[in-house]
């Protein structure tokens, strides 16, 4: 069985943190609920320390080959836990004295746990369990503020998630039926002997659920509504953290399990093109900053999927995938931190003249938006460089060219937000910018520094992102 509990310290820390947080949150008075935040952040830090100490070990699978401990799992843990810490940090002030603040922390922790399981799973059943654990807390979080937009977002998210969850389970059933097992190691062998069309159908159905998690076309319909309707920290979480698990799960599945008889690279390439192009086009004339970022995340996922497309064709694909995802997570959280810092400003026009009143935060906004465009020397630039290199190396030059065209297009709508914030004179009919507090601002600065630091110091990180991916 190889039941090595010590290998699962990060996951156990999250589970324990969630249970303790739920218990403590039920008894603590409203004014002291922040301590649950500290507790959950602590659980993440324990997980981060455990991840760091186990980095570079020999890749292995534990619990009867159902859970892989390799470079992808380690990196996913690192990204998910860091992202969750940043979101918990963000939420501190945005949620104020919310009566159910503890629930927010606990649900985030559970969703983070589900995301890590999704990334590490090497068994179809565990993958399905990870999907549910990563999704259900987020349905609740989307409607956390119990207002009309939140409820709508939550319902939409839930219905689409439930539908695609069932689709995914159908895919699991099909693959189990023809592969006679749910374990990846065995499926590698059995699927290549199984009827080709059923394997292909099962793969597509299975991928549908994972695409829903990462918010890629054609399962992206929930992204704008949830990003706009949910509370800002929830939006920050939903658009970043679950993508890590989903992308790694897709990568593991297609590169290690799906037999080459299924032409998955073409499928992923088409989905990647559709994601980046449709996301960009939809973002063009958005007036709401959250919707703009929502569509931008759809296109960003498209870029990252370039690395998945060439998973088996280029050695550069794995570091490209992991680095881009990491750079994207920290940069996007920086942008959402600025949004959380100004809870009253929902439209682009509300940010007019921001540079005069809040120069440092305007700097963060510019850094994160130019970062999302892929301007050097931020993290996403290096990510894009890696992803483009991988795509060209893997023979998908046309996809890289399409990504370049989309990058240029994306510049336009990021500038639509950046330019009024920087150059316009404040005034006119818009809500004055009211700050949420220092903590949120500090989180914005930290995330922005992280984006810049990861871009400049990528040389220290990248060598650690190569290794064997276990089936």
């Amino acid at each position: 069985m190889n039941a090595k509990l010590t290998a699962l310290v990060p996951e156990l820390a999250l589970a324990a943190g969630a249970v303790l947080g739920l218990l403590a949150g039920s008894w603590l008075p409203r004014a002291k609920q922040w301590s649950v935040g500290v507790l959950t952040a602590l659980a993440c830090v324990v997980g981060l320390v455990a991840t760091a100490s186990s980095w570079g070990g020999v890749p292995e699978t534990v619990f009867g080959g159902s859970y892989a401990l390799d470079v992808t799992t380690h990196t996913s843990r690192l990204l998910v836990l860091s992202g969750t810490v940043l979101v918990i940090w963000l939420a501190g002030e945005s949620l104020g004295n919310h009566p159910r603040k503890a629930e927010f922390y606990v649900l985030s922790l559970l969703a983070a746990l589900g995301t890590i399981v999704l990334a590490g799973a090497t068994d179809l059943l565990l993958l399905a369990a990870g999907y549910l654990l990563a999704s259900i807390p987020l349905y609740a979080l989307a409607g956390f503020s119990k207002d009309a937009p939140g409820t709508e977002a939550s319902l939409k998210y839930y219905l689409l998630g439930a539908l695609l969850g069932v689709t995914m389970l159908t895919g699991v059933t099909l693959l189990y039926g023809v592969g006679r097992t749910t374990r990846y190691v065995v499926l590698v062998r059995t699927l290549s002997e199984a009827p080709h069309s059923i394997v292909a159908a099962g793969t597509v159905l299975l991928l549908a659920g994972l695409l829903f998690k990462i918010g890629a076309v054609p399962t992206h319909f929930w992204v704008p509504d949830v990003t706009e309707g949910a509370a800002a920290p929830v939006a920050a979480f939903v658009t970043t953290v679950p993508k890590v698990g989903g992308l790694v799960a897709v990568y593991r599945l297609v590169s290690e399990v799906v037999p080459p008889t299924v032409n998955w690279p073409s499928l992923i390439a088409v989905l990647a093109s559709a994601s980046m192009t449709l996301g960009n086009l939809a973002a063009f004339f958005q007036e709401s900053v959250r919707r703009l970022l929502a569509y931008s995340t759809i296109s960003q996922v498209g870029y990252i999927m370039l690395a998945v497309t060439v998973a088996t064709r280029s050695e550069l694909a794995l570091p490209a995938l992991l680095f881009y995802t990491g750079g994207y997570v920290v940069t996007n959280i920086a942008a959402f931190a600025v949004i959380s810092e100004f809870p009253g400003a929902t439209r682009i026009a509300d940010y007019r003249g921001m540079a005069r009143s809040h120069p440092a935060l305007a700097g963060v906004l510019v850094l994160s938006l130019l970062g999302l465009v892929g301007t050097p020397p931020t993290a996403v630039f290096l990510g894009k460089l890696e992803v483009f290199s991988a795509a060209v190396d893997g023979g998908y030059t046309w996809l890289a060219v399409l990504a370049v065209v989309n990058t240029v297009i994306s510049l336009f709508y990021y500038l639509r937000w950046m330019v009024p914030a920087l150059l316009a004179v404040p005034g006119g009919e818009h809500v004055p910018l009211v700050r949420a507090g220092r903590w949120t601002a500090a989180c914005a600065y930290t995330a922005a520094c992280g984006s810049l630091g990861l871009g400049l110091g990528g040389g220290l990180v990248l060598p650690g992102l190569t290794g064997t991916v276990l089936p």
């Binding site: 540079a355 130019l370 050097p376 460089l385 290199s389 060209v392 240029v408 330019v419 150059l423 060598p463």
Partner: protein
């Protein structure tokens, strides 16, 4: 600390320090610190020039491991191609700093932005790693975008956006080309020196052609050559004077420098193969730029189009250098030396002309040539400076433009006689249009545009204006009369580039 890195990062350090100075201390603190930083940087560049050993190799080299796992290093160094451009960059930024010693619209961000732009520009000319080069290339676009959008006039936002989108396309295409080079080399590397040595695309014709297409397109947009020049006139017209100086004097050189530094030595075979296309593009730019400049009524727009024309000479020369079948090595060296000299000369003279355009706009808020007349009587110094810059620009012997263009034409004539003969027409047209512009604006009866709020008298150059324009013209005369100090630096490096192409 390597002196080259010091020169590159000194302005950035100054900007970082000034960022913490509160804006309420007054504009003077910022403009003076800017001037001090730019002057210190120029002193360092001069010292570096004096200590430079012109043997065709790379001096002041420094190589630090940055991202070894992806073949990216912090690799800088300078040779005879880069040193003159570094020097021009330092001179032009100092001229801008002197010119800006006055009331500025939000001085602090302006000064910080220019200091950052200086680091970016100097960094680009010293970079010996493709990604390092690209980082500076991209940031120069972002920086210039904000200069035009925030401090420009007229339709500045729109022009700035056009500039940004256009050149951003170029930079990303360039990046694809760089990735092509990177993947072709074994082991994968972005290092320019190693790539030149390895010549990874030797014998891979199609691959080489595609990579050259990407890199050539990227640089052609930045240079700009016809038909990718349409972003240039609006950007120049609406940019502030100092922005135009840096855009024309430094940013355009990034494109032509890229041809000499990257396209030619890293893709010698493909360059030889497709040099005739480069020659044609160059000639078309020369003629088209000159003809369209002739039709302009706007002084600044006219200078912008003469930039297209002048950059056309450079492109013609680097193209002719690749036509190896005809012409001897010496002639081709002469053409490329002329191209580098032209980059320097154009930086100085066009810089001066754009500053003069800024002076006109400051006085009367108009660039319309038809509405000015007889300025020479009121402003003799301004008239003299304009005349000198215009004569230099049209290639009068004794000024830097002549040295550059003479070498370009002599060097290109052997290998590309018909195109060169056609390009000679460009000189004629440019001479005509610059003289006509000078004649219309400075001679004849006095007439000034009626701009509300302006004083009746038309002031001559003020001291800050004079001290920014004059050094540029003095340098143009010095290069015109005593070109050896420059050519001795350039020639050895050009010879080694030509040697690489012939390989």
């Amino acid at each position: 600390m390597n002196v080259l890195s010091l020169i590159v990062f000194l302005p950035l350090v100054a900007a970082a320090a000034l960022a913490f100075v509160p804006a309420r201390l007054g504009d003077r603190v910022f403009t003076w610190s800017w001037g001090a930083a730019a002057a210190a940087d120029l002193v360092l560049v001069v010292a570096m020039w004096i200590g430079f050993d012109a043997d065709g190799g790379i001096s002041y080299e420094q190589r630090l491991r940055w991202m070894p796992s992806v073949g990216i290093d912090y690799h800088v160094g300078i040779d005879g191609l880069a040193l003159p451009l570094v020097a021009v960059t330092a001179v032009l930024f100092l001229a801008c700093a002197i010119y800006s010693q006055r009331r500025l619209r939000s001085a602090k961000p302006f000064v910080l932005l220019f200091l950052c732009l200086q680091t970016v520009s100097l960094g680009l000319f010293t970079a010996l790693d493709l990604i390092l080069f690209f980082v500076y290339f991209d940031l120069s676009i972002v920086g210039m975008y904000f200069v035009i959008a925030a401090w420009g006039h007229g339709n500045a936002r729109k022009s700035a956006l056009k500039f940004f989108l256009y050149t951003f396309v170029g930079s990303l295409v360039l990046l694809l080309g760089f990735i092509g080079l990177y993947l072709a080399a074994e082991p994968h590397t972005f290092d320019i020196v190693e790539l030149a040595r390895a010549n990874p695309l030797a014998g891979r014709e199609t691959y080489g052609a595609v990579v050259l297409l990407a890199i050539g397109l990227g640089f052609a947009i930045k240079t700009p050559t016809v038909p990718f020049h349409t972003w240039l006139p609006p950007a120049h017209t609406d940019a502030p004077a100092t922005g135009s100086v840096i855009l024309a004097g430094v940013l355009l050189k990034m494109g032509t420098y890229g041809f000499v530094r990257i396209a030619m030595p890293l893709l010698p075979q493909s360059w030889r193969e497709y040099a005739w296309i480069v020659v044609i593009v160059g000639v078309v730019s020369v003629l088209y730029g000159a003809l369209v400049a002739l039709a302009q009524e706007d002084f600044k727009r006219m200078i912008a189009y003469t930039s297209v024309n002048h950059m056309g000479y450079v492109v013609l020369a680097v193209g002719a250098a690749g036509l190896i079948a005809e012409g001897d090595e010496q002639a081709r060296s002469l053409a490329v030396t002329g191209a580098v000299t032209q980059m320097v000369s154009h930086g100085l003279l066009t810089g001066a002309l754009f500053l003069i355009a800024g002076v006109l706009f400051d006085r009367r808020a108009s660039y319309d040539m038809g509405s000015y007349s007889g300025l020479a009587g009121r402003a003799p110094v301004l008239a003299g400076a304009t005349a000198l810059a215009a004569f230099g620009s049209l290639g009068l012997p004794g000024l830097s433009g002549f040295v550059a263009e003479f070498q370009i034409f002599t060097g290109s004539l052997a290998s590309a006689s018909v195109p060169t003969a056609l390009a000679l027409l460009g000189i004629l047209i440019t001479a005509g249009l610059l003289l006509r512009a000078f004649h219309r604006m400075f001679l004849g009866a006095e007439r000034l545009p009626d701009t509300p709020g302006s004083t009746r008298r038309f002031e001559d150059l003020r001291s800050r204006e004079l001290f920014s324009v004059l050094p540029l013209l003095v340098l143009a005369v010095v290069i015109g009369l005593l070109p050896r100090f420059l050519l001795d630096v350039v020639e050895p490096s050009v010879t080694s580039v030509i040697g690489v192409i012939g390989r």
